[in-house]
């Protein structure tokens, strides 16, 4: 099977990371990496990008929004059929 070019490798990095490449494709990917420091660096940077993006998470609920939701819940509970409670 033909070797993967750098250009082709860059196009399937996410497929590789997602485990979506067929076995032969994964082998070609990994043998290219073993011989190519540029693509090895690229993959490293791709992974770092994903990891750094993960630090953007912020799950903050505004207290007022939470109060509103509790009111929604209490109204629902009050109006729900008695046998479900």
């Amino acid at each position: 099977m033909a070797a993967l070019s750098c250009h082709e490798l860059v196009g399937v990095v996410t497929d590789y990371l997602e485990g979506a490449l067929p076995e032969a494709g994964r082998d070609r990917f990994e043998s290219h990496l073993a011989a190519c420091p540029h693509c090895t660096r690229y993959l490293e940077q791709f992974r770092l990008t994903i990891a750094a993006t993960g630090t953007l998470s912020e799950d903050v609920i505004e207290p007022a929004a939470k109060e509103d939701l509790l009111r929604v819940f209490r109204d629902w509970k009050a109006s729900a059929a008695p046998e479900t409670l």
């Binding site: 070019s5 860059v10 996410t14 497929d15 990891a51 750094a52």
Partner: protein, 224 residues
């Protein structure tokens, strides 16, 4: 006998034990179960709603409406999907309806999925020797070194700002998929279910988004 009946009624395809327990408590009207779900998902729901409607306050309203839909639908929920997928489906449906009422373009319904634009076709070509060239497919200018440690990269406010800026420039479908996968930590299956994308389409969107964000970081490190 009654045990058998309730088991087949609520878990035809095997809801996780955690979902099952939460559902029982919710149906019984336990406020702490509701609070647990709200703490877990509400902020994410508001952010997802924001890709369908025009403002944060409308997104909050949409999320609140979706929670009411969740509560009212509890008795009908059959456990064919996870509780999370079900809740976020209700959210996206609510948000789409609201977005249409606002006559705002609904990204996932209207873009055919990949946010393909002229720029997408070129963004990776210019960095490689063109076909026919002796070095066809090889790096024209190989990726430069990022002079930072992974720890510094994770902690840098400037890097975060770069990522936010790059994501803001993405098409809405690419941005949402990357946000859900790489910021909110959803699985590809969850993203496909909630946004109604095929696995392949989801991967294409994710790949283009990540590629552009990496590119933005590369430019940032090159110019520093």
């Amino acid at each position: 006998m009654p045990e058998l009946e309730s088991a087949t009624a609520t878990t035809p395809t095997g809801l996780s034990g955690e979902d099952e327990a939460l559902l029982v408590r919710l149906r019984a009207g336990h406020e702490d179960a509701f609070v647990e779900l709200v703490d877990r998902y509400h902020a994410q729901m508001v952010r997802l709603a924001l890709s369908f409607v025009s403002s944060h306050s409308v997104a909050e309203e949409v999320a609140q409406e979706a929670w009411l839909g969740v509560l009212k639908g509890l008795d009908r929920f059959e456990g064919r999907s996870s509780l999370k997928t079900w809740i976020f489906r209700i959210l996206t449906n609510t948000a789409k309806t609201r977005g249409q009422r606002e006559s705002r373009i609904v990204p996932f319904a209207s873009l055919g999925g990949t946010d393909a634009d002229g720029e997408d076709a070129e963004f990776d070509l210019e960095r490689f020797h063109p076909p026919g060239d002796a070095l066809a497919g090889h790096w024209m200018s190989p990726p430069g070194e990022w002079e930072t440690s992974p720890e510094d990269l994770m902690l840098s406010g400037e890097v975060r700002a770069q990522i936010e800026g790059a994501m803001a420039k993405l098409g809405p479908s690419q941005r949402e998929v990357m946000r859900l996968r790489d910021i909110e930590g959803w699985s590809s299956e969850e993203v496909c279910n909630v946004l109604e994308l095929t696995e392949t389409n989801q991967r294409v969107l994710l790949h283009r988004a990540r590629t552009k964000v990496r590119q933005a970081l590369a430019q940032y490190f090159a110019g520093r």
